[in-house]
Assembly symmetry: D2
Amino acid sequence: MPEDLSLAMPAPQTSSLLDRVIANIRHAWRGDGDGSIADRLKPDLPDADLAALRRQIDACLEGPGGEVSARLRAADLARGYLRLNDQGRRRFLLHLAERYDIRERDLNAAVTTYSIADSGPAKHAARAALAEALVSPRVKLLTQFNGVEYGVRFLIELRADLRRFRKEDPELADLDRDLHKLLAAWFDVGFLELQKITWRSPATLLEKLIDYEAVHAIGSWDDLKHRLRGDRCCYAFFHPVMPEEPLIFVEVALVDGIAGNVQKLLDPALPEMDSEQADTAIFYSISNCQPGLAGVSFGNFLIKRVVDRLRRDLPNARTFSTLSPIPGFARWLRSELETRGEAALNGGEHSEIKALSGNDDAATGLLALLERPDWYKDTEVTEAIRECMIRLCGRYLCSTGDKGRALDRVAHFHLANGARVERINWLADTSQRGRNDSFCMMVNYLYEHREIESNHEAYHGEGRIMTSPPVRRLAKGK
Amino acid sequence: MPEDLSLAMPAPQTSSLLDRVIANIRHAWRGDGDGSIADRLKPDLPDADLAALRRQIDACLEGPGGEVSARLRAADLARGYLRLNDQGRRRFLLHLAERYDIRERDLNAAVTTYSIADSGPAKHAARAALAEALVSPRVKLLTQFNGVEYGVRFLIELRADLRRFRKEDPELADLDRDLHKLLAAWFDVGFLELQKITWRSPATLLEKLIDYEAVHAIGSWDDLKHRLRGDRCCYAFFHPVMPEEPLIFVEVALVDGIAGNVQKLLDPALPEMDSEQADTAIFYSISNCQPGLAGVSFGNFLIKRVVDRLRRDLPNARTFSTLSPIPGFARWLRSELETRGEAALNGGEHSEIKALSGNDDAATGLLALLERPDWYKDTEVTEAIRECMIRLCGRYLCSTGDKGRALDRVAHFHLANGARVERINWLADTSQRGRNDSFCMMVNYLYEHREIESNHEAYHGEGRIMTSPPVRRLAKGK
Amino acid sequence: MPEDLSLAMPAPQTSSLLDRVIANIRHAWRGDGDGSIADRLKPDLPDADLAALRRQIDACLEGPGGEVSARLRAADLARGYLRLNDQGRRRFLLHLAERYDIRERDLNAAVTTYSIADSGPAKHAARAALAEALVSPRVKLLTQFNGVEYGVRFLIELRADLRRFRKEDPELADLDRDLHKLLAAWFDVGFLELQKITWRSPATLLEKLIDYEAVHAIGSWDDLKHRLRGDRCCYAFFHPVMPEEPLIFVEVALVDGIAGNVQKLLDPALPEMDSEQADTAIFYSISNCQPGLAGVSFGNFLIKRVVDRLRRDLPNARTFSTLSPIPGFARWLRSELETRGEAALNGGEHSEIKALSGNDDAATGLLALLERPDWYKDTEVTEAIRECMIRLCGRYLCSTGDKGRALDRVAHFHLANGARVERINWLADTSQRGRNDSFCMMVNYLYEHREIESNHEAYHGEGRIMTSPPVRRLAKGK
Amino acid sequence: MPEDLSLAMPAPQTSSLLDRVIANIRHAWRGDGDGSIADRLKPDLPDADLAALRRQIDACLEGPGGEVSARLRAADLARGYLRLNDQGRRRFLLHLAERYDIRERDLNAAVTTYSIADSGPAKHAARAALAEALVSPRVKLLTQFNGVEYGVRFLIELRADLRRFRKEDPELADLDRDLHKLLAAWFDVGFLELQKITWRSPATLLEKLIDYEAVHAIGSWDDLKHRLRGDRCCYAFFHPVMPEEPLIFVEVALVDGIAGNVQKLLDPALPEMDSEQADTAIFYSISNCQPGLAGVSFGNFLIKRVVDRLRRDLPNARTFSTLSPIPGFARWLRSELETRGEAALNGGEHSEIKALSGNDDAATGLLALLERPDWYKDTEVTEAIRECMIRLCGRYLCSTGDKGRALDRVAHFHLANGARVERINWLADTSQRGRNDSFCMMVNYLYEHREIESNHEAYHGEGRIMTSPPVRRLAKGK
């Protein structure tokens, strides 16, 4: 299975996406009257309709007529699917998963033939037959959809459904894997186009940024305009068959020095700077747009392509860094403090924490302070815990778990890309989410051109997390 | 193996294509100094260089660094390949075919594991492992090229080489099949874009029509302009990653009534008609442009998409027909007459042929007349043999051979698409090629919307060749 | 002087327009250091700066160097102007108007020469000299601005200023006329491009619709999106030198039957209809965008071009009508009722009005009812006065004043274009403005292709207002 | 009158241009049946048709209906004109020139009114009336054509006719001047767009380069492709209403050092250099495309805009020079030698010339040598006369005539633009034309950024021709 991309992903907006797809498909695929399956299936696909469904699927797979006819039949099947309700879709997919899997008997026969074949041409032919037997009918069917207009979009929609149902229907896992493999080949980065999105882009495209932004929500068109002003920029990957659907996009702020506070960055009152003078590009938000493409990795390529582009266009920009959330820190910290108590704090007196919280145990005291409403507005508190919190966060970010993987999923994403942990920022995101997830902390991951390869190697091969010297000291508890 | 597309294909213009690809690649992929394989391989790839080559391939497959690094290494390998001469390339490909095939030992192990696995999760896992073992390292390598700029174009170039070498090196057949499968998935018709090519198109594109036209050569820019005038049109398929490289194109003439003579059709002196008044669209030339995509079927989709487009844009155009060469007729006729003598003529007196040729045997006489220089300009001769020739041609076109396939390869292509044999045209192509291949005859295949499906079925399923009533009578020798 | 376009015009948004112009100009025109006037003038242009200003203007007019240098000097002068405040600009324009008018002495001399010249070449030459003497230096100066980048935009800005100042400074009238003449030639409809604006248009363009809409304000981006949905459309004229600045735009609703209520039309909850089925196109808003182009007539051409376009694209749309405000009705009605009393009502009992208002005089009673807050929500009132109001409105719309011109300025615009008064709609616009201006009434003007010419003639030549038969009866008090 | 642009201009290709214009106009303007003048005029416009023509013109000027109707009538008139033959067109234009001139009587009246008006408002009104009386009806008519589709193109066509007829019909001079003034305003450089033309441009555009190239003919599409290869470039001005019609274009070669031979420059065998390495840009051909725009100056702006563009895009290109023909040299030299004899040679022995020509008089001898066929291939001759010829050419180029204008028209053009005479090249153009016009000599004019202004001033103000030091010495006979 492909790695989890570990980036924020919007909740599937089934209805609106669907409406658009159906509307398009309705326009593109004209069913041919009473032969059409699309008009005959009931929304929840009762048992009585399964036979008709199977006939249509079988016709797609083996039916008469040339390749063109086969694709028209596939189109009709797709329309039929899109008219089903959730219950019907789930049944459709389960049926597809179970009835159109690899044919065990054929496969066993092919295995036997291979095992006993003499080397030479016979062995060779047996090998080909074996490969053929390993291609399930459902994969053949899915492939056919590509040929119909909007077919790829349909498959993305289908997979978004699959991902939703999969949690409760583990039988769908293999079908999901099949579809992932197909989509990963079609959406290979070699086919993607990097585009800059600006305030001159079509509104149809811009409204999707508002829909899909998953890290720091875009509140309004004014907010969006602010994020596309002169010292900001936005890049997205597109696929040629879906020229108006971004696959993933990243928002960048051009600033002087590494930024450490996201509310400041997004403040419309901030005076605009001349982008050509900026020495630093801050990647402050990266959002996947297509739930149906979960697991197809775009993010690493996107960041590197954008760094290349900015390096070329803005000769003064020499530092490329993220300003990233730390989604798992708060949960980890609570658990650490609860299970290990003061030991989690790595020594030290912490007298201020004790005094402020009125608690003899610094671990309990710290947790108590962090549970006070509006603690982050109380300078006395924030000053008292600041150093301790930064040190704890450093330790968290540099900790690895299973298979040498960083505990934090965003950290894992950037480290695997070859970035290093550069700086931890106190009171950097005071939004509700920032407080809940990471006690208002954020981190910068630095993409340093010459180190990317070696950072990646160290992390991937040995599970070593690369950091700036200050963060290294923090992590070592010094 | 995919069906042979059976259409004309230009001779591979290796050098110019190559120059362009290399030039582009040089620009896009900057090797990084002394680590580069591209600069170290000798043009004919002597044995001494094979170890270095293998190291680079292995690095591509398993080397350190992330996906981005892997693709850079692939780019360097591609550059290395492009600098080799034919000898070097052949050795490269043979090496790839032999050393990076499926690993027999791994496959055998996977087969064994599968055979003995208990049903349930173990069987399931064994099946996945079996599928994995069937993916050869060379396929993994080829897939990587997609991610580098111009990588797909490189693979098309590579396959064009493969096709040339394959005749002498049957060991390359499997590699060719692998590459075909990869390209067929990427160039699925669902990803292609149909474009109309006009005299307003960029010269860079138009000069390619001149290069690639494989049926009726385009003699000059004036000739090309004539073929793009108001009552002519030209459509091509493009793939998004190669926006200036047509994959296949078709030339259409808008006329009144089905045209029966290609020289007339191409005569610049022909007065232009108002295309909106034309009742017939004649598809008089269809050319594949990419030898490296041989076997990926575009032609059938192209014709149908163009018919749909014309039907929509030109409401008066109701007849859609080709004016096609009959490449195998002359050879077949000679063989028939030589082996079967007068019996081949299906009875009748043929006294005129005997008289004119001064030959007692009509079969020998006919052959003698057809060997006279400029026979096609001698009205006496052409009138004498006309009827007999048309009947013979009808028989040829309606004959099937192995597996119910039409003898003529162009006939096979159109019949498999659902067209029917509509009309046989005497003295329809008096060019050198027309005389050599088909004794100046041409044929119209008719695409009748309502019959396409059933025609296809009849041909594909039962080997029945559909024809117009007159041709049917001819074929039956009436 | 050109006719007053009589359409709504947005309040000049000096600051934002200006900022954009200056920003652009700053980028395009690089002053060359200390010679630049742009940096030396004080914002309010005190007397002390006038000499420097005159030197720069004179240099523009007669200075050394070729045409290219002359234009650079003009650019610098423009930059200087744009940095002035309102006070400075007014002084600049007054100075230009007074000091750079036609030179009286030269003109008188040319007149004398012409008067005494013998016929033949001498007369001919004198005529040319006379024409030359009638071109003022300020016109020559204004012409030069065209050659600098953004120069045309600058002149539009300059004229917007002029129009503001003119009310208090009648000395500026001639300069305004000069500039109008120049702009009218450059913005001749022959140079304009009609473009459809859709939700796929750039946000930079769409936000201008929100800014410039002057009839029914666009409240939000959602509102805008609603106005660009499938059964709505929007067309604008553009000039090639200002490709992102609409000059005028019209909003159209595609509906079944002539629409009579604008709130309904703009209601986002209205189900969308298939535009291809609509039989009627309603022009419900037309807005000029450039105060600096006041008096250059675009509206009549725009409506006719859009009618042509819709006629071609939507074969089912056969009725083309406006849904227009009646800006002068309320004022006229009050005056009529106050000065003429019941006589204004053209006879009848009006007992309901008297009863409801508790007033013996129907005229006073009607006014009293119309002054009740929320009268338009009170069915009893609206039913009681409905017929009477429609009749009064009919009379108003069909009344002409000076020179046979319709009293209502919007009526005048459409009648002069050849439309006819089709239908009067009661309670058609209950917005604040609708209540204030026309007691909630609106009117449809019908553009009937075959009548446009004759309607225009009747109105223009004889002051006859063409109407539908029902409105004609109303107007005649029947 | 505007200066003569003094650049090469193609012979008017009336027929093809016309066909295109008519074809377009036919499509755009649908006459409305029997009312149409277009269908009623006989091709040679006999006297009998003049009354109908006048009615149509009067209808355009004063006719009923709004502005839209007026323009439709103008369109019909234009169609009528385009269907006339040369004889008819000439009569049309003469009629327009004579009958629709300024109305003498009205003008005289306006002059009188002005003369006797009191100062103040009356004077002011009289002035406006005077200006109005100076606008001829024919100018009003011409202005109307702008509003019809393709109207501007029509006026350019009309003026091309005018220019042809004018030589024999001096009565057309004023009409030509009117039209020039109108076109000059519309084609002001502020409205023009500079575009780079490449081998990727549409063939419709590229074929126009072949048609219009007026200096060094483009022999074929291969030749054209060569002129658009990597180290060549081509820029043109376009007007927004004629997006596919270049107005003027310049061809540039990027080279090392100033080029001195045009055949070498155009030799396709010349290896291509990396344009980014070139230190010099040679403007070797500049051609006006529209005879109907003669006298509207584009060339000076074009050169300067292209220099700016190249300076920005190619940082290594620091020298900007032409390689220009010397069209008047041969004629001047013959005249000099014939009238002044040896004195024309400015002293010296010229013994070689005498010896080679066998002539005692060097002037006669020189002429005799230059009349030998193929003299330029005879090294003995070319060496003998080289120095003498270069000196003579230097003198010619630095000579001014009337009003301080350079004798050579191409010299005048570049000098007025601010260039200087940089280098004279012997045997630089051995084409037929080069031999005939300038005894194979060419000259480089240098555009040195810092000197352009002062060069222009010196030439324009004082008639001083600026040169490089070596040319200065030549011109002084040293």
